[in-house]
């Protein structure tokens, strides 16, 4: 009962966030700019006066702002994100074409950084003060300090350029769909995954190490040990599980914000995903495409947070009791 009510409340809260983002975007693009600039922003920098006039007609820009807002929300609710004025394609079609590359980067990157981050964190916490712990601490600081694009650029110079100079062509930049060739897809994905993982795993190492050290000092861990349970079982069944709560909550924030980080990775490796399309759209001034992307990013955040809330219920018995 409690669970269903909780879920409904979370979904309503998510819808509220989506509405707020959509409204903010409307204000940014339709209200905050001077008269007459709206159509030009949406139609792109190279638009002819005829195109601008057409945009004005389509969007009813001569009508009161309240009416315009109503049309805007109405279009969104019908899944209509408008048309790119460069390619004349619907924005939803462009996003659909670009999404597989983005999803590939996100899923592989998240898996790699979780494995690396949690693995190092748990090893560091159980071997606090050891040489491994110290090396990991320094590595973490370097990882936290490095902006994503620097890691990507350096990987390209150090790995891709070196390998291709020696005739090894497995690792490529650009994007090959998995349906076309699995090894080609893997070759284009490895460096982007490592890039995301290097930066993010550092944060997770630090977080899981701190949280696990804290948990291992709890009374119930001593109780478990004194009952004669093996150290392995104490660690993995009792400690790690409850130490993961802050990690999961951080993961929700990060995966939601990841669409932002992916822009950088796509730009560095030329993956032609949603993020890179957006950067291109901005340089061309194609406003409709940018709006579509902002809404998609918000949807990403909301869905990620919903999944995190659900996993709390699995990790933390206190949520289930109520």
């Amino acid at each position: 009962m409690g669970m269903a009510r909780f879920l409904i409340r979370r979904i309503l809260a998510g819808l509220l966030v989506l509405w707020v983002v959509a409204t903010l975007t409307f204000f940014l693009f339709f209200v905050a700019v001077p008269e007459g600039v709206v159509a030009r922003n949406l139609a792109g920098r190279a638009a002819t006066p005829a195109v601008i006039a057409q945009v004005e007609r389509n969007l009813g820009l001569n009508q009161p702002k309240a009416v315009q807002y109503w049309h805007y929300v109405d279009h969104l609710l019908h899944g209509n994100l408008g048309f790119s004025y460069y390619t004349q394609q619907p924005v939803t079609t462009i996003i659909k074409q670009a999404l597989p590359a983005t999803i590939s980067v996100v899923i592989g990157g998240v898996l790699l950084w979780l494995i690396a981050g949690l693995g190092t964190g748990i090893l560091s916490a159980t071997r606090a003060r050891s040489l491994f712990d110290r090396v990991a601490t320094v590595g973490v600081l370097a990882g936290v300090s490095a902006p994503t694009f620097i890691v990507g650029e350096l990987l390209i110079v150090a790995v891709y350029v070196q390998l291709s100079n020696h005739g090894i062509t497995f690792i490529q930049t650009g994007y090959t769909p998995i349906t076309q060739s699995f090894s080609g897809w893997l070759g284009t994905m490895i460096l982007p995954w490592i890039t995301l993982a290097v930066v993010q795993a550092a944060v997770y190492t630090r977080l899981s190490r701190g949280s696990l050290l804290d948990t291992l000092g709890e009374d119930y861990i001593r109780t478990a040990r004194s009952k004669g349970i093996s150290e392995r079982r104490v660690l993995y069944r009792h400690a790690v599980r409850s130490a993961m709560t802050p990690v999961v909550s951080q993961l929700g924030i990060d995966v939601g914000a990841l669409l932002g980080g992916v822009i950088v990775v796509e730009q560095v490796f030329g993956l032609q995903g949603v993020g890179q399309q957006t950067v291109t759209a901005i340089s061309q001034g194609d406003g409709q495409l940018v709006i579509g992307f902002v809404i998609l990013a918000a949807l990403f955040v909301v869905v990620a947070n919903l999944i995190v809330d659900l996993s709390y219920a699995l990790l933390d018995p206190r949520v289930r009791v109520n």
Binding site: G2, F6, V20, L28, F29, V33, N41, A128, R129, T137, L141, A142, V144, S145, A146, P147, T148, F149, I150, E153, L154, I156, V157, V161, L207, G210, S211, L216, G217, T245, P246, S249, I253, G256, A257, L259, G260, G261, I263, V264, Q267, T278, V279, I282, G285, G287, V290, F293, V294, A297, A298, V301, N305, D309, Y312, A313, D316, R318, V319, N322
Partner: protein, 356 residues
């Protein structure tokens, strides 16, 4: 026991406490601990060197004879129109795509990066502390509203807003500063709010109130000095984050517009040349990495120096090696991290189910 011995002992007893209670303020103690930590001292030296590098940018340009915006198509590029490498034709770090001196460009880029890093952090700290104090001290609906806003800002993906802004307005230094500040104050507010919540229950605050002090006096005169430590640590750690933000925005073409040099836009231009000109990528990237790493290490050092537990470890006869992991409790570092997480529980299902 002879008289002289007694006298000697007496003077010794009189002298000893006089030495032991030589007054040292909290800040003096912190400074002593900080200078006793060689990693912190090294990172301070690096930070000072980078600031000097930025300040001396015009001198470097004058010394090399290569003004920052001046391209040298003849000696700055090779026969194929490609950048020349380090040391060639009097360019210490080589040239960029159109034959400008890379060293001079990086030095001028340092000015923008450091200015953005320090300025946004200062503004974010002032704003963040004020909001955090008000939310924590007044509580009630003020706190509810402000805490919600803080959560909302922290949950918003910053690049998305920057993208939307860049699409509507033209990229500029002002927008970069605005976007970075907007996303930095909330983290500081959250920590300050949490500290204020516990500090306002202390006896000395009650004493101040019973003496007739008003809320603003209590907040800014009585509570704020106790927050300076954590805020200083956070601010030191926000500077490298801001430097990275600026570089990332400029790299994406929504930050500092060229031809003004910034580490981010130099690296963006370098993207088309990584096959032929490694120096074009490696030098700006290395300077950026060294800067952010130095600030992060310094922040860690300040945090350790502020933590009274460090003193006990030093008193225990151990040298000033890095303290992390010496005790099994939470360090301030981890406390801030976990505290941030715990504070998330404002929006955490557990707290809500317990309420209702």
């Amino acid at each position: 026991m002879s008289i002289t011995e007694v006298q000697f002992q007496a003077t010794a007893v009189e002298d000893a406490p006089a030495k032991a209670i030589e007054g040292r303020s909290q800040w003096q103690l912190t400074w002593r601990r900080l200078t006793g930590d060689w990693v912190a001292v090294m990172s301070m030296v690096v930070v000072v060197l980078i600031c000097a590098f930025a300040l001396c940018a015009p001198l470097i340009a004058a010394a090399t004879g290569h003004p920052v915006y001046h391209a040298f198509p003849n000696k700055g590029t090779n026969a194929f129109g490609q950048p020349v490498g380090p040391g060639v034709n009097g360019f210490p770090l080589g040239t960029d795509a159109i034959g400008r001196d890379l060293l001079v460009r990086i030095a001028y880029g340092a000015r923008i990066s450091l200015f953005v890093g320090l300025f946004t952090t200062a503004v974010a700290a002032v704003f963040g502390v004020s909001v955090g104090l008000i939310a924590g001290y007044f509580g009630g609906w003020v706190d509810t509203v402000l805490a919600r806003i803080i959560d909302a800002v922290l949950a918003f993906p910053f690049i998305v807003l920057a993208l939307a802004l860049a699409a509507v307005l033209n990229p500029s230094l002002g927008i970069v500063i605005g976007v970075i500040t907007f996303f930095s104050w909330a983290g500081i507010s959250r920590i300050v709010r949490g500290q204020t919540l516990s500090l306002k229950e202390k006896e000395y605050i009650e004493a101040a109130r019973s003496l007739g002090a008003g809320p603003w006096r209590i907040m800014f005169i009585d509570i704020m000095p106790n927050l300076l430590g954590p805020v200083l640590v956070l601010a030191t750690l926000y500077i490298p984050t801001a430097v990275s933000f600026e570089a990332t925005l400029s790299f994406l073409g929504i930050g500092i517009p060229p031809p003004a040099p910034s580490w981010g836009n130099i690296l963006a231009e370098a993207q088309d040349h990584y096959q032929t000109a490694w120096w074009y990528v490696v030098f700006p990237a290395a300077v950026l990495l060294i800067t952010t790493l130095a600030f992060n290490l310094l922040g860690d050092g300040v945090r350790d120096a502020m933590d009274p537990r460090t003193e006990r470890i030093l008193a225990g006869g151990k040298t000033a090696t890095r303290r992390r992991g010496k005790h099994r409790g939470l360090s301030l570092d981890e406390a801030i991290l976990v505290g941030e997480q715990a504070d998330l529980s404002v929006d955490h299902p557990i707290s809500r189910t317990e309420e209702g």
